[in-house]
């Protein structure tokens, strides 16, 4: 990420790194966040992604100083703000925050809301003069494209405008870090996409270190340079959106960040150690698995954490018995192979039954019933349309697939 100081026309900001080390947050003895360590590079946009109740908001509030972790340390820039014997009050952390519903002060005008944080004394060691504040308010409102609305009361604005004011308000004092708590979830679907794009532009323009919380995988992928997936108070995986989608660390992550088929297969005798099996290596062993979709190149993970449940409900789970024509059963190991629907191609044949067709325009999603009665989701952009009740054959068409011991 561009951590080099850069001067956008609106205002300069220092992009501080945020480091969490072993952070635990408990409510009445129940751990919402357990032993989380994470580094957010300066100037990057990081998403905390997870289902509701996974602890992502608690983690964000711990960075803000609105929750006090029961263990671990939080560092903003080079300054520890929370840890054993260290506690910096939220108002002294130079951290900005945008809440789910904006939390604009209803008794103040838009300009007064934006001015609010500028009036707080001693924020940067000196008070801002009146004219300087006026300039900063104007710049901030211009940044979010609401220049003419300074005199309005928040209640007279649309939801998207309110959210942009909230953003301007938290950016105006030039925080070291900006936190966003489900900033778009209060908006309706069409508005959400639009405001999201606008906010993404603004954040990239000002290059402030940003951490945002979302339960929406699209939002995390579109907005985040990096995404940390949380599950039951722990971080399952941190990476770029592409890492998460293509190389999920666990079946749970695979299912959470997109639709996933888990196809049963047998690891062929030719469990080729061509990827460098030596235990020290980062790359997992690779090989080929025999499945009902044909032979699939796989990269085999260690058995995933026993306490991690299988992926969310929407992922159809395929139980495919080993094909009969592959009799090397004694050497073969049963594995579960991640197959994204778009990696399934359909061909004329009679191996599977089309049980459902969802037409989306840019592509078509099929639900298929395979020979052994298991179901499989497929997405294809092919111009040939199948109908419910048609018979087809399926084949895997993709790169190396992730697999776990079944």
């Amino acid at each position: 990420m561009a951590s080099t100081p850069h001067t956008p026309q609106v205002a300069t900001r220092h992009a501080a790194e945020v480091a969490l080390d072993g952070v635990t947050v408990s409510y009445d003895g129940v751990e919402a966040v357990s032993d989380v360590s994470l580094v957010v590079p300066g100037g990057s946009i990081t998403a905390l992604l997870g289902p509701s109740g996974c602890g992502k908001t608690s983690l964000l509030r711990a960075i803000a100083g609105l929750e006090r972790p029961t263990a671990g340390t939080v560092t903003v820039g080079d300054r520890p703000v929370s840890g054993p014997g260290t506690w910096v009050h939220p108002e002294r952390r130079h951290v900005g925050m945008v809440f789910q519903d904006g939390a604009l002060f209803p008794h103040l005008t838009v300009a007064q809301n934006v001015d609010f944080g500028l009036r707080a004394a001693g924020r940067h060691g000196r008070r801002l003069g009146r004219s300087e504040r006026t300039d900063r308010v104007r710049d901030a409102l211009e940044l979010v494209d609401l220049a003419g609305l300074g005199d309005r009361l928040p209640d007279t604005l649309s939801g998207g405008q309110q959210q942009r004011v909230a953003l301007a308000r938290s950016l105006a004092p030039q925080p070291a870090v900006l936190l966003l708590d489900e900033p778009f979830s209060a908006l309706d679907a069409t508005l959400r996409v639009q405001v999201r794009a606008e906010v993404a532009d603004i954040l990239r323009e000002v290059e402030v270190t940003t951490v945002f919380v979302t339960h929406d995988q699209d939002e995390a992928f579109v907005l985040g340079d990096r995404v940390a997936v949380l599950h039951e108070g722990r971080i399952e995986q941190v990476g770029t959106p592409d890492d998460l989608y293509r190389r999920p660390a666990t079946p749970w992550v695979a299912g959470f960040v997109g639709e996933a088929n888990f196809v049963q297969g047998l690891l062929g005798a030719a469990l080729a150690d061509d990827g460098g099996t030596e235990h020290g290596g980062d790359a997992p062993p690779t090989g080929h698995a025999a499945t009902l979709l044909g032979s699939v190149p796989v990269s085999l993970h260690e058995r995933s954490d026993a306490e991690t449940p299988m992926p969310p409900e929407e992922a159809p789970h395929t139980e495919i018995a080993a094909p009969a024509e592959n009799p090397t059963a004694d050497e073969a190991a049963a594995i579960s192979v991640l197959v994204r629907p778009e990696h399934v191609s359909l061909h004329p044949g009679r191996c599977a039954l089309v049980t459902n067709v969802e037409y989306y325009g840019h592509d078509v999603r099929y639900e298929l019933e395979l020979k052994d009665g298991s179901t499989l989701a497929a997405r294809t952009t092919s111009s040939h349309l199948y109908a419910r009740g048609d018979r087809v054959c399926v084949r895997y068409e993709g790169e190396m697939a992730e697999a776990w011991p079944a």
Binding site: A64, G65, L66, H89, P90, E91, R92, V95, G96, M97, F99, Q100, D101, A103, L104, F105, P106, H107, F116, G117, A120, A121, G122, R123, D155, G159, R169, S170, P173, A186, L187, D188
Partner: protein
């Protein structure tokens, strides 16, 4: 944001509503407006006719000054106490918060004249306060009268009018407003002053104005405590100097109307309630300050509830033990009180419901006029209303046979307290949205059946609540009952009054306790049980 579409009033008027003839549509609200504003208009007209105002200005100016002095003191004190207690019981870790949240509202069940009587009786020889002071070697004050006494008593029983709305406001203030202010660099104290307090202001102001109105209109307490306010002038001169009586009544009336108008405009300016935040506020740690906080709660509850009830209780208990009084004598007044209250409640809801329907479904100038008149009825001090109706019936030959009859008494209650049913009735009407009535119409052509099977069941909770509020107010009403009751008809309130005037504290105590029990029961059913006051 979950978008709840509030159907506009215009959208609620279905097509078939237009079948009602324009005459009926306007005549009913106009008739209601005339009835509700009649007594006030009569007082002002009569004052004008008598040329009373200029004539008795000298005699009014001092009581007016005293009235305003008392009202300002009481409402300011109530604002501070009410807001402070609301903060303590909602935002801090005060020990026993839930208990206090209930107990601190209970002084509301004591009518101020009962409270005044309880203090006077308690300070009299043999009274509980008197004896308690004696036992620690302090001479009890001989007289409990004047500004100080009125200030104490009225504040002790009216601060809940501030406590209730401020508590409600605290409860639905989103915690993240405070959090936003902290994130923007404000300390917790500055956050309270610059963010929380402005949010509370409409609630505090609205509550204080109600206290102001209550104090200006109060008759019983100031009468007992010998503090000469305008209502006392009205009462004292009602038979001997009618011009002065009406002049004083007009001044109180105008004052009260001005306060209600102000309160209404405030309410309009109040922030729309935002949905409460999902994440509850972490309570503020009081630490060592918990002790003074508990002490403050104890003192307020002591003065507003425990001491008066104990004072009345000891007198009643002594009277019962000596066989001078018995519950038997209270059976008739209790039944009378309960019956007039129920009748007043039913009539009030019946009269106000058409207004509520008109204002919510087909707003028009006439329906607005009716609503304003109903609300204005609340502003008319009970004594002024009673004076108007008494003089009106007594001096108008056509009406004279109605003087001191139950229908006029009930009418006074309905005019005075109808507004208490109006808000609930309006929300009851809103509980039957247009689309529901439309689908009802498609399924069931018979209007009557629709009314009984769709409208009424949906409206019932609102109507019952509205009627209950009228009942509660009627139970505690004194001046109208005093002036308008038929000869020989006594309610608990008049019983308390009469026995107190005779110095028969034991009877006062017993009747008061019965009244307090009744009103506590109703308050429980209406306010405490339903609201979020108890739940955190």
């Amino acid at each position: 944001m979950p978008t709840v579409t509030t159907t506009g009033a215009a959208a609620m008027s279905g097509v078939w509503d237009r079948r009602i003839s324009p005459v009926a549509r306007h005549l009913v609200p106009i008739a209601i407006a005339v009835v509700f504003s009649g007594p006030a208009a009569f007082v002002l007209w009569r004052t004008f006719r008598l040329g009373a105002l200029s004539e008795s200005l000298d005699e009014i100016i001092d009581p007016l000054w005293r009235t305003i002095q008392l009202a300002v003191l009481v409402s300011a004190t109530a604002a501070v106490i009410g807001t402070g207690l609301a903060w303590l019981t909602t935002r801090t870790d005060l020990p026993g918060r839930r208990f206090w949240r209930v107990v601190l509202i209970l002084p509301l069940v004591l009518p101020s004249f009962v409270g005044a009587a309880a203090f006077i009786a308690g300070l009299a020889p043999g009274g509980i306060i008197h004896d308690a002071l004696e036992s620690i070697g302090i001479d009890a004050p001989r007289r409990f009268r004047g500004l100080g006494a009125a200030w104490l008593v009225l504040t002790a029983f009216t601060y809940p009018y501030v406590l209730l709305p401020v508590t409600a406001r605290f409860a639905n203030l989103p915690a993240n407003l405070d959090e936003s202010a902290r994130m923007l660099g404000l300390s917790s104290t500055a956050t309270f002053l610059r963010v929380t307090l402005p949010q509370l202001r409409p609630a505090i102001l609205g509550g204080s104005l109600l206290v102001f109105l209550y104090t200006v209109s109060d008759f019983g307490a100031v009468q007992l405590l010998g503090y000469d306010t305008l209502t006392r002038v009205v009462y004292a001169t009602r038979q001997t100097n009618r011009a002065l009586s009406f002049a004083a009544a007009s001044v109180v009336l105008i004052l009260a109307l001005a306060v209600v108008a102000l309160e209404r405009s405030q309410r309009g300016a109040a922030q729309p309630d935002r949905r409460a935040t999902v994440r509850p506020m972490r309570p503020i740690r009081l630490g060592w300050r918990a002790m003074p906080a508990l002490l403050a709660c104890t003192v307020v509850a002591g003065i507003g509830l425990v001491v008066p009830v104990a004072s009345l209780g000891t007198w009643a208990q002594r009277g019962l033990a000596e066989g001078r009084i018995g519950f038997g004598e209270l059976i008739d007044p209790t039944i009378s009180t309960a019956s007039v209250s129920v009748i007043a409640a039913v009539v009030a809801v019946g009269v106000v419901l058409p207004v509520a329907i008109a204002t919510t479904r087909r707003p028009s100038p006439s329906s607005q006029a009716a609503a304003v008149a109903v609300i204005g009825g609340f502003a008319i001090p009970g004594l002024v209303l009673a004076l108007a109706l008494a003089v009106l019936t007594l001096n108008t030959p056509a009406l004279s046979r109605w003087y001191q009859t139950l229908p006029v008494l009930i009418g006074a209650y309905v005019i005075h307290f109808g507004s208490q049913a109006l808000a609930s009735s309006e929300s009851a009407v809103r509980a039957v949205p247009a689309n529901l009535r439309e689908s009802g119409r498609l399924l069931e052509p018979r209007r009557g059946r629709r009314w009984f099977h769709v409208d009424l069941p949906l409206m019932r909770p609102g109507l019952v609540a509205g009627g209950g509020l009228v009942m509660l107010a009627t139970l505690k009403e004194l001046p109208a009952t005093l002036l308008l009751s038929p000869i020989g008809f006594s309610t608990l309130a008049t019983e308390i009054w009469a026995s107190y005037e005779e110095g028969f504290y034991a009877a006062t105590g017993l009747a008061s306790l019965v009244l307090i029990m009744l009103s506590a029961l109703l308050t429980w059913a209406l306010v405490l049980r339903r609201s979020d006051v108890i739940r955190s």
